[in-house]
Symmetry: C2
Subunit: 515 residues, 2 copies
């Protein structure tokens, strides 16, 4: 097990290739998978083609994009396609941000971060299509596993209950409360949740308070936590009810209302499909096709707005642009030194928008043995450390990969354990879900996103109580020549890869209007 | 009116004097008041006396203190008194942090930030005594004013109700709920509120939720906001009930239980007395007596821990020390770049600990005319922008100064208004409290603490929901050679000047044990 990128073979390989691409984006390497190689051919021809092997760092462009995650690269791509010069500056030694392939060996990958795509995530699907990155269905044949207080059930998510486990203790409340949450969420405008008629009421109570008022069953409360830990990396006590309702409303698009089910489900939901070559193929391909510099390993420290230009100071280069897009989580955007200082509203927003607490754990097996038992590899557990699992095996089913979400309080407990105790706890739980074979992985790895210096928490930033109401509009309001991207700024699929793509397109449109 | 330090005469004067003191702390200037000059004589002789007029910046010391507020200077003072060398590095061009005198002219001052001292604030009182800074009673003769929905009452806070306004609409709930809050707070250990038996329950509900469950009177809810805006710079919806109970419990000392009344009251409470020469005389005197460098205008950007030393990188100097004390609000401490990165628990804490939203407004009059009407100058209002006022006149009563707290939602509304509309709104309200004379000030000034780059909010950092429970111990847990000070780290009088002093002494003790 290793969470240290220096000891991670994938990372070393990646660094060797990507670091060489610093100046000429066209030289950015894709991971060495057959699928990725096939799909690395540019769909859009970049408008600018810098000379390969140029060694000087760039000093200016029309636009500087801070952050080479999905949002930043999408913004850069759209700006380049519109004929503008761009420099992307990234703190990490790789692109992708919260999207990070893990090399399984033998040309196979799984994902340490964002993984899935589903219906109404049309921006992400369209982008993948343009890039030639294909999708395949998340393995979902057979029964899911449900564990509560030592009780194990298997059930089909194609049954009348959908993904809701057929636990008679909780079923009535699950059904009623999900229906109510979905209905309440229809009153939340995704572009301005702070204007909802009950915004102040909902932003003044936690999800825990709301559940306490709508439930009498202790196990139901445990089940709510089992859902919020993977979805938000948080406990119900940490979540504003207004944000929860917004998050549900945001799991749709302009013509489909969001629902909790679409957020949570595999079939027909946000976990329906995966990307061939791993999700990081998308940002890697964008960086490779950009034709403009993507400067890695260069954290941005200061952004100075002048009367006609903006100066961006990073560890490896200082450069100027007419407009700047900051495509970072709000908590990290708030750590940059801005001159002049940002308005108090924007600053207070970023002080109150902590990243969720999520660790993704994964075990690798010679085969996806659970499939032979008629199981999907999906489990939902009220206990911990793992709240939910998925089959994350490559398309061919070899090797078998199970990943689990460890979130909220369980992520904090897990972080305090020794590496060996962590692995034991997870494999014991996997064995409870899928049988004793789960105790014999060929590899085990985990990714503590809160411990990642340049993300500091996953899957999403979570506004504190009253924050959406007080400062919500400042999440994406441009300030002079500064624009904001990142999934936290998205109206739809906030917290998901699709939201990141949407935010990048929106920020690019803002900049195009300003240039 | 000016919130711009460049246009503030006091600041210019201060900068001229203090900037010259960069290297030799002994040359730090006190404000040019007679009281301050009288009291500038050192009580403790510094152990190290650097040559005056030295021009080179220091490169190392036993200890570096980041932040020359009350906490940092107290820590530095104790370390110097124990025989150690210290460098204090401060981002601002002045010392004092949230404590900032305002020059009224004629050798008189009032305060833009922390002002008062009261019973059980024994650390602050002892420090002031050692420094020769005297106190005088806050003007409190006569009646207070209460305004609710256009209704004006005057009443004596020496009556049977104490500070509670004699509003029959709210009196029963005020009495019952304050008694209950005080009683509940006795179950909260101030050194570890996260261990209280109901900690999870209280950290999962907002004060607003709790009030909704304990009140049926709309005006009572307005009154609660009128209290939380000055005390926390926040609305009840923004406050974890666990933090509120801790804050009450913390308004005492080792032998006196905290109470809401001691927190809120003038007579017998935290607003009982003021400092001769203004509260900033305390940090100014400490800096002047330190005999070690206090480097101003030098924001700390990076702290690198090595095997035997720590390197602190700031705009004007890079220096090394054996131990470092970071005496900043958590939100600002989190913006420094640490190598190696801090544990995820500490980082997530600082992501979830936004500074309150508080603007202090003040009007200056030829005389404190309200005194002639038998009024204390203290008002409490359910409307806005001002929730509470105090008489902040110098000891001799000339000129007359009224200041008001504009906090929470009202601070946000106020910030969005034009300067002239702000002044009009406040003076209209002052006139409603104290009569038409309030419309004719000789000066008006305000201080938006959320707009101050190196504080970013007042009076205190506020942990998000579940943050104390999840990450509470990390507020002051040393990390290698790093120690944390600041009022947010204090067990008693958290959020007050006394808490800052306590935190500085505690951090200095930690460092002394480590050196």
């Amino acid at each position: 097990m290793s969470t240290d990128p220096d000891r991670d073979q994938t990372s070393i390989t990646r660094r060797r290739f990507v670091a060489g691409s610093l100046i000429g984006g066209a030289a950015v390497a894709l991971p060495a998978t057959a699928e990725a190689k096939r799909r690395s051919k540019p769909v859009h021809k970049p408008h600018h083609r810098p000379a390969k092997h140029r060694t000087a760092l760039p000093t200016g462009a029309d636009v500087i994009v801070v952050g080479a995650g999905l949002a930043g690269l999408t913004a850069a791509r759209n700006l380049v396609n519109a004929g503008h010069s761009v420099i992307v500056i990234e703190a990490r030694d790789r692109v992708g941000g919260r999207i990070w392939n893990h090399d399984l060996g033998g040309g196979q990958v799984s994902e340490r971060g964002g993984t899935f795509v589903g219906p109404t995530q049309d921006y992400l699907l369209a982008l993948a299509g343009e890039l030639g990155v294909g999708t395949f269905p998340t393995y979902d044949t057979g029964d899911d596993v449900y564990m509560a207080d030592g009780q194990r059930l298997t059930y089909s998510d194609g049954g009348p209950l959908g993904t809701a486990p057929p636990d008679p203790t909780t079923l009535a409340e699950v059904t009623a409360d999900i229906e109510l949450l979905d209905q309440l969420s229809t009153g939340i405008p995704v572009d301005a949740p702070w204007t909802a008629s009950d915004a102040a009421t909902y932003d003044g109570q936690t999800l825990e308070t709301w559940i306490d008022q709508h439930s009498v069953t202790p196990r139901f409360k445990e089940l709510v936590s089992a859902a919020t830990r993977p979805i938000f990396g948080a406990e119900p006590r940490e979540l504003s009810m207004l944000f929860v309702l917004f998050y549900i409303a945001a799991s749709g698009d302009e013509t489909n209302a969001g629902t909790f089910e679409r957020n949570f489900d595999t079939r027909g939901g946000a976990q329906q499909s995966r990307f061939i070559g791993g999700s990081q193929t998308i940002p890697l391909t964008m960086a490779a096709q950009l034709g403009h510099p993507v400067v890695l390993s260069s954290p941005v420290r200061q952004i100075r707005q002048g009367p006609s230009t903006v100066t961006v100071v990073s560890d490896r280069l200082t450069a100027r642009a007419e407009q700047v897009i900051v495509a970072l989580p709000p908590a990290l955007a708030g750590r940059i030194d801005y001159e002049p200082i940002l308005p108090m509203e924007r600053d207070q927003l970023t002080q109150r928008y902590g990243q969720g607490t999520l660790t993704k754990v994964a075990a690798v097996y010679p085969t996806p043995f659970w499939r032979e038992q008629g199981l999907t590899g999906q489990a939902l557990a009220t206990g911990g450390p793992v709240s939910a699992t998925f089959d994350d095996s490559p398309p061919g089913g070899s090797p078998g990969v199970l990943f689990g979400f460890v979130g909220g309080d369980y992520a904090r407990q897990y972080n305090a354990m020794s590496p060996s105790a962590r692995q034991t706890a997870v494999l014991d739980q996997f064995a409870g879900f899928f049988g004793a074979q789960a105790q014999q992985p060929t590899a085990y790895f985990d990714t503590s996103w809160s411990g990642e210096q340049w993300t500091r928490g996953c899957p999403v930033g979570i506004p504190g109580m009253g924050t959406l109401l007080a400062y919500g509009p400042w999440i994406r309001a441009p300030i002079g020549r500064l624009h904001w991207a990142g999934t936290e700024t998205s109206t739809y699929w906030n917290g998901y890869m699709d939201g990141a793509v949407r935010s990048g397109e929106r920020a690019a449109s803002e900049v195009l209007a300003a240039l």
